[in-house]
C-alpha cells in the first residue's frame, strides 16, 4: 500500500531528528526514515561538546552561537532531559607558537561577539585542576556547553512523534524516484512513500543518498576515536580542547606524511565529563574511509597526548573506546538547503565535528527553507552545489 508524507527526512541522527521536530512543530506531516536505530551513526559515536570556540570565525561561528541559544530552553521545550549543561570551555595552549595562533583566533571570535578570553596558566588552573605545569595558558568561554547526543536524538524524535511525525526505524532507503525534475517518492525496504520533499540528513552516508538522484557530494568520512573512563568525581570543568585540536581540524594538509604519530593522526585533546561521571578523552582525525575500527596507535597516542596536558588523568581507568566518522567537507562547512536542478531534494549533511553544536539551528534553518524559502541568515556559503557538483543531475522523467 502506498504511504504519503509531506516530507521524508532520511537519517535518525542529531540532524535528521532535529529537522523532523522543527517541521512537525510547524504542522508538517513528516516521516523520518532511519536504517538502524536513532543515534546509531556518528551521533552515537562522538563526544558531548557544544563548543563555539572551535568554530571558524564567520558563518560557522554565527550558526554555532545561534544554535547555542536554542539549546538553553530545549530540554523544557522537548519535555525530555537531554542532559544539557552550560559548563563553559577552554582551549589549552602548550607553547608560544600555539599562543600566537590562538591570540589571532580569539581576536576574530570576539569581533563576532563570542565571549572568550585568554588566560595565563594561573588563571587557567583555577578553572581546571590537574593541568601540566608546562602549559602557557588557555582560552576560556562561558558560552560553551555540553549535551548527551543520544538523549538529544531520542528527545527530538519523541517530541516530533507527539506532534504527528512517524519515526520509522530499521528502514533502509532503496531508491528515490524523480520525474520532470521533481522528487516523486522514496522507496524503502518496507514499501514506498510518496512525497514531494526529501531531506538528506544521512551524515557520512549522505553521498549514498545523493547518488540516487545522480548527484555527487564531496562528503568524506573522517574517523575520530575516543576513550571512555570509569565514572569519577567531577574533574573536567566543561569542554577542554587544545590548540592542536584547532590546527588539526582546519589544516588536514599539515597532518599528512608527518612521522610524529600525534600529527599524522591529527591528535588533539577533547576532554569532557558526562553527568554520570565518565570522562571522554579524544581525539584524532584520519581519512581511512568507512572504517570504524579503533586502533592501538590512536589509543596510545591520544592518551599520551591527553596525559601530557592533564597528568591527573593517569590515575583513572579506561573502560571503553569507540570510533566515529565525521562527515567532512573540503571547506569545513555543512551542505544545507535545496539542490539546484531537482525540486524537493534538500541537503542537510556534512557537519564534520560540529553536528552536535549545529543540530538545533540546522533543524530551524531547514524548516525555514522548506516553509518560507529563506531563513535568518544567508546560507549561500552552505549551498550544496558550491563545489560545482550538480551539473549532471538525474532530472529526466
Amino acid at each position: 500500500m502506498k504511504k504519503t508524507a509531506e516530507i521524508v527526512v532520511i537519517g535518525g541522527g542529531v540532524i535528521g531528528t532535529s529537522i523532523a521536530y522543527f517541521l512537525s512543530k510547524r504542522g508538517k506531516k513528516v516521516v523520518l526514515v532511519e536504517r538502524e536505530d536513532l543515534a546509531s551513526g556518528s551521533s552515537g559515536a562522538c563526544d558531548i561538546d557544544i563548543i563555539l570556540q572551535s568554530k571558524n570565525p564567520g558563518i560557522h561561528l554565527k550558526l554555532a552561537m545561534a544554535s547555542a541559544e536554542l539549546y538553553k530552553s530545549l530540554s523544557q521545550e522537548l519535555d525530555f532531559d537531554i542532559e544539557y549543561e552550560n559548563t563553559g570551555g577552554m582551549i589549552l595552549i602548550e607553547d608560544e607558537e600555539q599562543l600566537k595562533v590562538m591570540k589571532e583566533f580569539v581576536k576574530k571570535q570576539k569581533a563576532i561577539g563570542l565571549q572568550v578570553d585568554l588566560l595565563d596558566f594561573k588563571e587557567a588552573s583555577k578553572l581546571q585542576k590537574g593541568l601540566a605545569p608546562h602549559l602557557v595558558g588557555a582560552t576560556y568561554s562561558p558560552q560553551d556547553a555540553h549535551v548527551n547526543p543520544m538523549s538529544l536524538c531520542i528527545g527530538f524524535a519523541q517530541a516530533a512523534a507527539k506532534l504527528g511525525a512517524e519515526i520509522s526505524l530499521d528502514t533502509a532507503i532503496v531508491d528515490i524516484k524523480t520525474a520532470k525534475g521533481r522528487v516523486k517518492s522514496v522507496v524503502t525496504n518496507r514499501g514506498e512513500i510518496e512525497t514531494e520533499t526529501v531531506v538528506n540528513a544521512a551524515g557520512v552516508f549522505a553521498p549514498e543518498i545523493c547518488a540516487m538522484v545522480g548527484m555527487s557530494v564531496p562528503i568524506k568520512p573522517r574517523r575520530g576515536q575516543i576513550i571512555v573512563t570509569e565514572p569519577v568525581p567531577k574533574l573536567v570543568m566543561g569542554d577542554v580542547l587544545c590548540a592542536k585540536y584547532i590546527v588539526a581540524k582546519y589544516n588536514p594538509k599539515l597532518l599528512e606524511g608527518s612521522d610524529d604519530p600525534e600529527t599524522r593522526l591529527g591528535v588533539g585533546l577533547s576532554l569532557s565529563q558526562t553527568r554520570n561521571g565518565n570522562i571522554l578523552i579524544g581525539g584524532c582525525r584520519e581519512f581511512v574511509g568507512y572504517n570504524w575500527s579503533t586502533t592501538y596507535e590512536a589509543l596510545t597516542t591520544i592518551l599520551k597526548h591527553a596525559t601530557r596536558l592533564v597528568p591527573a588523568l593517569k590515575e583513572i581507568h579506561a573502560i571503553r573506546s569507540f570510533a566515529g566518522l565525521r562527515p567532512y567537507t573540503p571547506d569545513g562547512l555543512p551542505l544545507l538547503g535545496p539542490v539546484e536542478g531537482i525540486e524537493g531534494f534538500i541537503m542537510a549533511a556534512g557537519h564534520e565535528g560540529d553536528g552536535i553544536a549545529l543540530s538545533p539551528i540546522t533543524g530551524k534553518i531547514i524548516s525555514d527553507i522548506i516553509l518560507e524559502g529563506k531563513t535568518f541568515i544567508d546560507i549561500a556559503p552552505l549551498s550544496p552545489g558550491r563545489f560545482g557538483n550538480t551539473e549532471k543531475i538525474k532530472a529526466v522523467s
Binding site: 538502524e36 536505530d37 536513532l38 543515534a39 546509531s40 552515537g44 543520544m150 531520542i154 519523541q158 519515526i167 526505524l169 530499521d170 576513550i227 573512563t229 570509569e230 554520570n276 565518565n278 578523552i281 570504524w292 579503533t294 592501538y296 589509543l299 596510545t300 592518551l303 599520551k304 591527553a306 596525559t307 588523568l313 593517569k314 590515575e315 583513572i316 581507568h317 579506561a318 573502560i319 571503553r320 573506546s321 569507540f322
Partner: protein, 87 residues
C-alpha cells in the same frame, strides 16, 4: 518489594529496560543508548544476557548480538597504557 536491578554497574532496573523496549529499542545497543545499561565497568558482561532474555520476547535471540566489542576489555589504568614498554 525492592527494586529489581538488571544492570548493576549503572543501577538500571527491569522497569527502565522494559520502557526502552516499548519505546522502540530492538537491539542491545538501542537499550544501552536509552538507559545506559551496559555502559558500566563490566561493559555488559553481567547484564547482557539478562537484557537479551527480555528482548527475546520481541526478537529472535540468535539476532541479538552484543554491541561492538572494543578495547580495553578490562578496565585499565590510563597511566599504565601510556607507560609503554620502550619508555
Amino acid at each position: 518489594m525492592k527494586e529489581e536491578y538488571i544492570c548493576r554497574c549503572e543501577e538500571i532496573t527491569r522497569e527502565e529496560i522494559e520502557k526502552a523496549i516499548a519505546d522502540g529499542a530492538t537491539t542491545l545497543s538501542g537499550i544501552k543508548k536509552r538507559t545506559r545499561a551496559g555502559m558500566g565497568l563490566c561493559q555488559g558482561r553481567t547484564c547482557r544476557r539478562l537484557i537479551t532474555q527480555m528482548l527475546s520476547k520481541v526478537k529472535d535471540p540468535a539476532e541479538i548480538t552484543p554491541p561492538t566489542s572494543r578495547p580495553p576489555v578490562r578496565a585499565i589504568k590510563i597511566g599504565e597504557i601510556v607507560e609503554g614498554e620502550d619508555d
